[in-house]
Structure formats: structure tokens, C-alpha cells
Assembly symmetry: C2
Homo-oligomer: 459 residues x 2
């Protein structure tokens, strides 16, 4: 380490104390890439204990022109927290307290390092729920989830992270503390500045505190797997469940036959809840406050959909274990990834009316250019969000170009919920115009003129 | 009119044509202040017929340093569209088409001048609803509603305007067209630029098109007026209805006794649906898809709330006429304003836990400083939003200071849904810190360096 770096580190240690700083092997022991890969090459990992400490650290880094890569729980999938040798990594893992929970109003104030599962549990103990849920709940931190505008399985009912954030405290690139810890659903006093930071992937500021909106806890959950023969029936099903379950539709997860057949028939990793010959499967979840009433409502609706021919077959979970099995099938990306061999995975969104033609065309183009590869399709259809797995793939760049070219044609997005990070940066222009990208860059230059915050990410 | 102005007007007319320009009496005939007051003193009203025309007009105004005041339907209440003699007013009233309605997905693309009622009707004809509703539905334009992040009566269920906007097209101060006409619920491809413009009151850009999220149309509505003795019961009621009506609670409108007693007993303007001696009244609305099931659910819940003593009395609307009468009572601000004499009205938000003490303290402070005035309180309590009427008031500034001083103490907002405009500009610092206001000004300078867009508004 050079003298200049030793000086900087010493000054940082004077601010955050020895517990606030990791060096040497404690740094390389940490993965910094997606899927838990990589040995972090940063100079140090800074772990401030308070907003005030972080503010001082950022003021120092800003003066020195020192790049800082903010970390959340490291469950992102686009290398948004990747470090170079010259960087400092910044972890808020010591700032993980739930500071306040207003149980009358359903409002919770947390430090950014609080882990999702901890937040979910605290909400539930107070008779509420925190409505964003995702597989990485045991590691994902609220600050990272705000910075990436996390999505997950219940967006169709509750929205993404953006819709759960009432207020934020953010440390800006120069150490300024921007405190907008609003608690109200309505506040039109000037620009809603927090919106800028949500989904900005740590490039505009560092989230240190969030005021979260909680939702009423549901005491009843209905889960079913249904089979359909045509995509237009999937659309009809979504519309009828959206309308006739009133506010209760919580998840609408589609699996193309490619997905279901692979996991159930080829790999035999999951029980054959339904025969494998149907073109489409949808995992439906509804939740409400009265088990008896809700179940009757759900059953009546499914019967009506069966008798109208919209759905051809259905299996209903009669206990939470069965529901868990259905979700395990839906969530078993790991088996698919292993099975496909070298795999390219995608997280796209597109208008629902364009989905069927898009997938059909993509299959054709893949068959022509990459005849050895297959396409597996599933995702949060209610949000316009599909996940694709394509493999085996040697030429990952070629497949990416193919997927994103077709996507541009239907005005889709190269990232529905994962963000851009480094991984999707080469394709940003596929979903955003030059005018949009220029304005993003202007915002970046305004808020971080020296480019110290998460440099090189997004654009 | 000076030569320079005549030259500018001629150039604008060459872009927008004679239909696109109003001059002289056609300008002064138009009110430009809140409540339909004032004779517009602007040089001209420009009415472009397309985004391209507006883009050219803005490029010209930017070169000339000509200030432009964007107008919506002129139903705002904070003088956000007020003009000075040197300004050009800009109306999008000719750009009022509904361009696309995806009836499978519930997505509608409209030009900014489309009127709310027209959008609501088109949505309903397609089996959907547009979920923001407010009294000025016959005049409020979508562009203005986006620019002011309009709220209204159903925010507790569907959110404000921000939550209904999937995509925007915006003309920037220099005429650049920023097209972000996203249709998907999820799109994390870089910064979500549209968020900056929502609620910016025409100071950062001019909304020309919006992609709107529609919601399933409800075929059943339950409406009740209930009476309560304690504020804590109002909070309990909100929490129980929020939890036990599942997603169906659509409105939760509170009236302090001051409001109900004034309209029903003193003015006798409305039927005495319930006796006037209760401390609190709440207008509750729920809506769903099955009249019979929804009514049974609603009645069971109300009975339980009556038997637990949370509510003391209730009247249920058994037909839409009765529901309309209850809403007419809630919405009769006009009678209150007339009755109070010279009146100061407020649109504030504050944490629900602080409301009772805030109102009690405000009443005490008013009694001390303005013994001739009375306070009338009502509003969208489910959103933390109260409307206050205080009158008779000669010293409006003094009363404003009193209200906003108390509000700062509880971290409340001087504007829940109306915005800042010119009217609340002197008090912005009561709800926003100096750091926040400085960042707002930096954003303004970035997007409108010459200050041509709605100059002087907000800060």
C-alpha cells in the first residue's frame, strides 16, 4: 500500500475506529461479484457506525477524489457492487437497527444495513407486514434494496421497493446529509427528492436510513397451480383474478412449458403436481384476512375459470407445506441453471400484449443461430417481468445481443428488477434513448461531480 | 406590445398557426389564479397542437430567455399557474387525445391536455377505472395532475398520481423531447427519470404525454358514515378496516365535530344522517367486484365495530343516491368557506399519531391569539392529510404562521396534495430543510439554466 493510501486509511480509521475498517485478508475474503463470486480487491472495506461517521468519511473521500463502492447485502445479480483495486468498499452492515415502529400507523424507520428478514419479522410481530419479499431475504439489506428498487414476488399487489419508501436519509458524494425522513403518504412540499435515489444503484448518494410503509398482515393465503393451453388465456386469467379477487391477488407467476417440463419431467426434481403437457402454468397466490371467506371466494373463482375453459387443470395447496412445494418449483432457478450448462440469464420486462410473439420469435432466432441452446421462460407476468434462461451458451455476448435486439423492437426493458450495474451497461441504449442517457449523466455530474460514488456503473 | 414581443409572437405563430395563439382579450378573459380568479396578464397564450410544435416553441423561448408558465386545467389551489405581464402562458388544451388503450393490460396513453373525466370515462368503457378522482374532474388535465402529483379521495387504496404514471413524455426547457413512454410496472434500466417531473409543478419540464396505469373497475361500492367518541377509536377503525377489508378500503374521510356540526346543525345544509354531538365522524367507502359478498362483508365488519364500541353509531348508504348525499356533506367546502367569512384554508399532512394533539394545541393557540376565529377540521385521514378552515381571519399571514409553526414541530408537511406554487412558497422551509431546498434549486438550475419554466414558483 502506498503512503498516500496509508494516510487516507489512517484518517478514515480516526473517524470510524478499528471496528469500522477491514483490511488485507478481511477484504479479499469478501466476494464482490454476483452469485457470491470474486475476492474483493478494494483497498479497504469501511464500515461506519453512524450517519455522522459516514458523512465525515465521504467528505474526506470527496476531497481526496477517492472512489467509494457502496455495498448492500451483496445479493444483486448485475455486478453493481464490483470493486477495482483503487476503490474503497463501503458496507453499512453495522448500521442495521430498526429504530422506530409506529404500530398504529404501520410505519417503520430503519437503518440502511437492516436485513430484509429482520424487517419482515419486526413488522409481523407488530401485526403488519413489509411487503417486498425475495429469495435473498436473509442477506439483502434495506439500503441496497432501496438503491436497486428491488422487486420480487408481490409487486403485482404492493408495488416495488419505491412504493414502500416514505422517507430517506442519504449521504451525498461530498458528505452532505440529506434528511427527508417523511412519514406521510402525501407530501407535495416541493420536489420529492428521495425518488432520485431509489433505483440509482449507489451512484447518486448512499442511503443511510429509510422510513418504510407497512401493510396489513394477511392471516390467510390461498395458493394454486393452474394449467392453460393458450397465452391469451393467461392474459384473461390475470385480468379476471385482478378484477374478481378485489385487492387480494398477491402473486401471478407464469411458467412456460419449457420451465415446468424441465424441472418436473426431465430432472424429476419436483412432484408432478399437474401433467407436463400443458403449454402454460401459473402459480397464483391470494391473501386476505379471513381464511374461511377467502378460501370460499378463491374456490368459487377457480371453479368458474375451469368451467369457462380459461384454465384446464388446477391443483390447490391445502396446507402451507403444499404451498411451499409449489413455490419451491417456481423458485428452483438453481436446478435449471445447472441443467442448462453454461447459461445466460435475463430479467426483462415488456408489454404483456407483446410477450407471446416475442418469446416465439426469440425461440426461432435461437434455433437458427444457436441450435444447441434451449430457452426456458418464467417470471412475474403480472408485472410484465419475465426471466429467461438460455443454455448451453458459449457465445454469451451473441445471445445477449439477440435477446436485447428483439426486446428493443417491442419497447421492452433490459432490466425489470435487477438493475444495470456493470453487467448490463453495454445494453442500456437498448432500453433508453440517447436523450435519457444524457440526462442521467447530467444528474450524475450534478450530484457527484468528482465521480467518486460507484464509478463506472450503469452508464 | 413592443417590437421584440411582436417578433417573438410572429415566430411562435409560424410554428403553432393562428389556432395555436390567443392574444389580447382572449388572454385577459382567462383567469390565472386559484378559484377561477384573476385576468391573465401574459403576452399571449400559446396552444401547441403537438409535441413537435411545443418543442420548437420552447427552443425559441429558451433562445430568447422568454418565461413560460405551463397551464393545466386551472383547478390548482396554490397559484401555481399565475402569470406576470412578461410571461407567455402555455396551454395544452388542444393536445387532449386519448391515444391508446390496452384493454387487456389496463394501460392508457393520453396527451397531457386530456381532461380527467374524459380519461375516467374511457377507462370505464373498457372495463377499467382510472383511480385518481377529485372534485375538479371536469376541468383538471392529466398533464397538470402529473405536474402537481394530484391526490384526491382514493389515495388510501390506489396512491397518488405518481403511482398511476408508468411513462411520460416531457419537453424540457430548451425544447428537447424526453420520451420515456414506458408501459411496464417494472423497469429498472437506469434512473427512473419520470419521477423528477411528477410533482415538479411545471418548473423542470412540460409533460406532453402520459402512460397511465388503470385498475380493475369495481362493480360494488359500500358507503357508510360512522360516529366515534375518541380519536384513538378513529385510529383503531382505520387499522381494522385497512386490515379486515383486505384491499377494498377506498376512502377514509374524517370530519371533526366542528365540520359536521357546522354543516348539519348551524347551516342545516345537509340532512342529519347522525346526531351532531359526536366528536368524530368518518365517511368510509369500500369497493369490490361482488355486490352481495361485499355488502355482507362490510355489514359484518361494521357490526363487529359497533359491538366492540369502536364506533358508536353508523348510517349505511343503501343506494347510490344516499352515498352521493354523504359525499356531498364531506365535500361541501364551499358552504364552510362562505360561512366562516374571510377564511384561511390549509392542506397539511402529519403523522397520524400526532394529529389529535396538533389539532388540540392549534385550537388553543387560535383561541389565545385569534379569539374571534374558529377552526374546522376534516380530510383524508387515511393518508395523514387534513384540510383546515380557519375564519373569520383578517390577519391571514399571522394565522398561516401559527398553523405552520405547530406543524414543523410534528414533522408535518405544509402541502399534502395541493403543491407549493406561489401561495405556499414563503413557508417551504417549514417542511423542507435548507439542504433539501438547495438540492431542489440545483436540480432546477440543471434542467432549466435560464429559468424560463414557471419562474418564481415553489422556491
Amino acid at each position: 500500500m502506498e503512503q498516500r493510501d496509508r494516510d487516507l486509511i489512517a484518517q478514515i480509521e480516526a473517524i470510524v475506529g478499528p471496528k469500522g475498517l477491514l483490511l488485507g485478508r478481511d477484504v479479499t475474503a469478501r466476494p464482490h461479484l454476483s452469485w457470491g463470486r470474486g475476492q474483493c480487491p478494494a483497498k479497504a472495506i469501511v464500515r461506519p457506525g453512524s450517519t455522522s461517521e459516514l458523512s465525515q468519511v465521504m467528505a474526506l473521500c470527496h476531497r481526496w477524489g477517492q472512489s467509494v463502492v457502496p455495498w448492500g447485502g451483496m445479493s444483486g445479480l448485475v455486478n453493481g457492487a464490483q470493486c477495482e483495486a483503487g476503490d474503497l468498499a463501503l458496507s453499512l452492515e453495522r448500521m442495521n437497527r430498526i429504530e422506530q415502529l409506529e404500530s398504529d400507523a404501520g410505519v417503520m424507520t430503519v437503518q440502511a444495513g437492516a436485513v430484509l428478514q429482520q424487517v419482515q419479522q419486526a413488522a409481523e410481530e407488530a401485526g403488519w407486514q413489509f411487503a417486498v419479499d425475495l429469495g435473498a431475504r436473509g442477506s439483502a439489506q434495506i439500503g441496497g434494496m432501496v438503491a436497486t428498487n428491488a422487486g420480487g414476488n408481490s409487486v403485482v399487489r404492493y408495488g416495488m421497493m419505491r412504493e414502500q419508501v416514505l422517507g430517506l436519509e442519504v449521504v451525498l458524494a461530498d458528505g452532505t446529509v440529506l434528511s427527508s425522513l417523511n412519514e406521510m403518504l402525501k407530501n407535495n412540499a416541493g420536489y420529492d427528492l428521495k425518488q432520485m435515489f431509489i433505483g440509482s444503484e449507489g451512484t447518486l448518494g448512499i442511503v443511510t436510513r429509510a422510513v418504510l410503509r407497512l401493510r396489513p398482515r394477511c392471516s390467510s393465503v390461498q395458493t394454486a397451480l393452474v394449467a392453460l393451453s393458450r397465452f391469451e388465456d393467461v392474459v384473461t386469467l390475470l385480468r379476471r383474478l385482478g378484477g374478481e379477487l378485489d385487492g387480494k391477488l398477491t402473486a401471478f407467476e407464469v411458467m412456460w412449458q419449457s420451465h415446468y417440463h424441465c424441472l418436473v419431467a426431465e430432472l424429476a426434481k419436483h412432484p408432478a403436481f399437474l401433467p407436463t403437457e400443458y403449454p402454460f402454468y401459473v402459480l397464483v397466490e391470494a391473501s386476505g384476512s379471513d381464511p374461511k371467506r377467502d378460501e370460499a371466494h378463491f374456490m368459487t373463482l377457480l371453479e368458474s375459470l375451469l368451467s369457462s375453459g380459461t384454465i384446464l387443470d388446477a391443483v390447490i395447496a391445502h396446507a402451507s407445506e403444499q404451498a411451499a412445494q409449489l413455490w419451491a418449483l417456481r423458485d428452483d432457478a438453481e436446478s435449471l441453471i445447472k441443467h442448462l450448462g453454461p447459461v445466460a440469464v435475463f430479467d426483462i420486462s415488456l408489454p404483456i400484449r407483446t410477450m407471446e410473439a416475442y418469446i416465439t420469435q426469440l425461440e426461432q432466432r435461437l434455433a437458427e443461430d444457436y441450435p444447441a441452446s434451449r430457452l426456458i421462460t418464467f417470471g412475474h407476468l403480472g408485472d410484465g417481468n419475465l426471466h429467461l434462461g438460455i443454455g448451453p451458451v458459449e457465445d454469451k455476448t451473441g445471445v445477449e445481443s439477440l435477446v436485447y435486439r428483439s426486446l428493443s423492437e417491442v419497447n421492452g426493458s433490459i432490466s425489470a428488477e435487477h438493475g444495470i450495474g456493470l453487467e448490463k451497461k453495454p445494453y442500456l441504449h437498448r432500453s433508453r434513448s440517447e436523450v435519457e442517457i444524457q440526462l442521467m449523466k447530467k444528474l450524475k455530474a450534478l450530484l457527484d461531480p468528482k465521480g467518486v460514488l460507484n464509478p463506472g456503473k450503469i452508464f
